[in-house]
């Protein structure tokens, strides 16, 4: 069995963001980068499947981006993936989700992966398109938004998260692609020995130009901070004073604090 996991490196979402000089993306200066949270669940699920099958499957982890994405790939290797593929692209944000999906599909097309795992969306762009589009380009059955995954031979049983806590159960035959929702599992922390072992694992570099054959179908027109709505009150200062001020406001404006 051959498994592919697709991961993205994103900024820490607790950061403050501002538009970049060109006004077509966020400014990347001073940001801390990490693996997209949804993709951590994808890596974990792939590695668990490999372990459940006696470590027989080979797990390839792929990421598109500049040199810094090597860190995200190393983390995935330390979590248990076998080999990395770094598709070198200095400006992945300038490509739309269609192009990103086409690059992954171009890489995967002749590799005969039995299962492809992705996160259900990225934390920065959040389009939730790439996984399903890769499946469509490769002609694979696909289930998105998984909070449960089981693979029995060549059948995948997927539990999809629906609105309001409901789940939808879907069965599909491999080869297939699944996208992972938060809470699917508990992603492991890489241990020191595994971090050391990961350093010896191969990371293959491929220039993006070798895999990109599609023009964009959508482009960013502008990036800007959201307008502050509603004219809410902002309270700042000493904690004790703030508490008194807030209680005063709640007594005046709501019927629930007296």
């Amino acid at each position: 069995m051959k498994i592919l996991v697709c991961i993205k490196q994103v900024p820490d979402m607790e950061s403050r963001f501002k538009p970049n000089a060109g006004g077509e993306w966020y400014d990347e200066t001073d940001l801390a980068w990490r693996m997209n949270e949804y993709d951590e669940y994808a890596v974990e699920e792939a590695v668990r499947l490999k372990e459940a099958l006696g470590n027989a499957p080979e797990v390839t982890v792929l990421s598109i981006g500049p040199d810094r994405v090597g860190e995200a790939l190393k983390k995935a290797l330390a979590m248990g993936c076998d080999r990395g593929v770094h598709i070198q692209d200095p400006a992945p944000h300038a490509k739309d989700p269609w192009q990103i999906a086409s690059i992954i599909a171009a890489f995967a097309r002749d590799k005969n992966f039995d299962l492809i795992f992705t996160g259900m969306q990225s934390q920065d762009r959040g389009s939730a398109q790439v996984g399903a589009t890769v499946a469509e380009l490769l002609g694979l059955p696909c289930a998105t938004t998984l909070v449960g995954f089981a693979c029995d031979g060549n059948t995948v049983t997927a539990r999809r998260e629906l609105e309001g806590g409901m789940k939808g159960v879907v069965r599909l035959r491999t080869p297939a692609l699944v996208t992972c929702q938060l809470g699917l599992n508990v992603p492991r922390y890489p241990t020191l020995p595994n971090i050391m072992k990961a350093k010896k694992k191969e990371i293959q570099a491929i220039p993006v130009a070798e895999l990109l054959h599609e023009e964009p179908l959508a482009a960013t027109a502008a990036v800007y901070p959201p307008a502050r709505k509603g004219g809410g009150i902002i309270l700042e200062g000493e904690v004790a004073d703030l508490a008194d001020q807030l209680i005063g406001i709640l007594k005046e404006k709501t019927a629930v604090v007296r």
């Binding site: 269609w98 399903a132 059955p141 806590g165 599909l172 482009a219 959201p226 807030l246």
Partner: protein, 305 residues
């Protein structure tokens, strides 16, 4: 300009979110036709064409078959936009339709600015407008972003769509109901919710104490539930409960879109956050810029006096 709107249908019912698609088409100023994979009895109450395929035959969820039904409607209608709700149904199906049409997709649209589609970036901390470069555009709209003006009325002209071949690579097994709710937040007058900003599991008790002092219930954001700090039955948001209390207090919640969608109908919102620019500030009537673990105990103590 014409928009083809894809309704949602679950457990034998048309979902109300389908009318948000109509509100979006009106906002665009587009003519519209709709697609429902469901039943005639549940057809949306709108004037104009509704393409109907039978859910008894094609399933309530089967992106393989539903994709082909939507494509058949696209062929007949030749729309400029194909529009879905950004939901577990819509974000699952839209990219498959877009790929077949080689159409650009714009996901989770929150507004229309000078004719351009506006979406969030970095968890709604920034906004982005997107320009399609394809003849047709596939759109998913954020749930709740486009509200229908009045209660729907009209009588659709039904056109049936049938597929010759119903073979599918995917089989829908069934639904699992939501876990029994120990807490019914929908009836609570006051909800005090804990977010990732509370720092650790042990600190949730501090937030629960404020909820008790205010005579309310404890709520939580998704990361806190996923981390196992709070039971899922307390979760507020699209995948938890949607709430509309008289007072909502968000403690250390940055305000991810999914959370805001579940609580923005609250009458009065207080946010406590050390980040002045956190998106929760957008919906807050009062934003207290402070460390949650310093401010909340002080507030609780004063309320108990």
């Amino acid at each position: 300009m014409k928009a083809l709107l894809i309704c949602e249908y679950r457990e034998g019912k048309l979902l109300d979110s389908s009318y948000e698609l109509v509100a979006f088409a009106d906002r665009l100023g587009a003519d519209r036709a709709m697609v429902l994979i469901g039943s005639e009895a549940e057809a949306p109450r709108v004037n104009g064409t509704v393409y109907l395929a039978d859910a008894a035959k094609y399933g309530e969820y089967n992106p393989d078959l539903h994709k082909r039904i939507v494509l058949a409607a696209v062929e007949r209608e030749n729309p400029d936009y194909v529009v879905f709700v950004h939901s577990s149904y819509g974000w699952d199906l839209a990219p498959r339709v877009a790929a077949r049409l080689r159409a650009g997709q714009v996901s989770e649209v929150v507004g229309v600015v000078d004719g351009k589609l506006e979406v969030g970036l970095c968890n709604a901390k920034l906004r982005r407008t997107v320009t399609p470069k394809s003849a047709k555009t596939v759109v998913t709209i954020q749930a709740g972003a486009f509200s229908p003006a009045a209660s729907p009325q009209g009588s659709p002209r039904i056109e049936r769509i049938d597929l010759a071949d119903t073979a599918s690579a995917l089989e829908f097994v069934g639904y699992e109901p939501a876990e029994q709710k120990e807490v019914d937040l929908s009836r609570a007058e006051v909800i005090v919710s804990a977010g990732r900003g509370v720092g650790k599991k042990e600190n949730v008790a501090v937030i629960a104490a404020l909820a008790k002092a205010m005579g309310g219930e404890l709520g939580a954001s998704r990361p806190v539930v996923d981390a196992g700090w709070v039971e899922h039955s307390h979760q507020v948001g699209t995948t938890g409960q949607s709430v509309s209390p008289k007072l909502y207090v968000a403690c250390g919640i940055s305000g991810a879109i999914q959370h805001l969608a579940g609580m923005k109908k609250s009458d009065f919102v207080v946010a406590i956050n050390k980040d002045r620019d956190a998106p929760i500030g957008e919906v807050a009537d009062v934003l207290v810029v402070a460390d949650v673990m310093q401010f909340v105990p002080a507030l609780t103590a004063k309320l108990q006096k």
